[in-house]
Amino acid sequence: MTLHEITSMLGAVLLSGTDDLDIIVEQAYCADLMSDVLYCSVSNSLLITHLTNAQVIRTAHIADLKAVVFCEDKKPDAVTINLAEKKGIPLLLTGLSMFDACGLLYEKGLRGCLILKTNDLEY
């Protein structure tokens, strides 16, 4: 799914990071605990979160995530946006709740980062 598609589905605005909305995200991860993101997300995925601090950008950078979606119109401050600019991480802002944003993206075909342990549910 491209960032362009995601932006229009979520009615989101682009806060920083790129002119290239053709970037493709392969999977999505939704969380507010950054160690959970670092443990389980895969590279090139999309992070959807409530948090807007600098650590979110650092986490995205460290884990090679493609872009970050902030929900509920919670706009990050200039420090966070500047950091994302520097790291080249696109930030999107949507007025939707995290639940509805994730639900919509799922409905349109985006999937969560895969769990491949044998005893886990298949999906």
């Binding site: 999505a28 409530h50 709740s97 639940f99 509805d100 994730c102 769990i115 005893n119 549910l121």
Partner: protein
């Protein structure tokens, strides 16, 4: 949609005893921040989270939520489960990550707004 239908549909493992699974679920919320849930979740909502701090029970109880789904097989400690049973807050567990759980709940017709 009632809680037990959701639990069946997503193959959730129920961790608390003596809780009401016949309750109507009015919407969904996903968050790992307790203050956020207290501020924004509504009565009858089901809460999807990786957070297992004891305070999740207090927050769910305060907001009169229908239940809590813990993702990625997150195991709460005994104290949290005991408190949840006392407060009649159903805690359910799934191996799926939050995005997948929310997607399925959304498919079942649950919304936040």
């Amino acid at each position: 949609m009632i809680l037990s239908e959701i639990a069946d549909n997503l193959s959730l493992e129920i961790k608390t005893e003596g809780v009401d699974l016949g309750r109507e679920v009015t919407g969904g919320y996903v968050s790992d921040l307790i203050s956020d849930v207290i501020g924004n979740a509504h009565e009858g909502f089901i809460w999807v989270t990786f957070q297992v701090h004891l305070n999740i029970v207090a927050a769910a109880s305060l907001k009169n939520l229908a239940g809590i789904i813990l993702v990625r097989n997150r195991i709460p400690d005994e104290e949290t489960l005991k408190r949840a049973s006392e407060e009649k807050i159903p805690i359910m567990v799934t191996p799926l990550p939050a995005f997948e759980v929310v997607g399925r709940l959304y498919d079942l017709g649950l919304r936040c707004q």
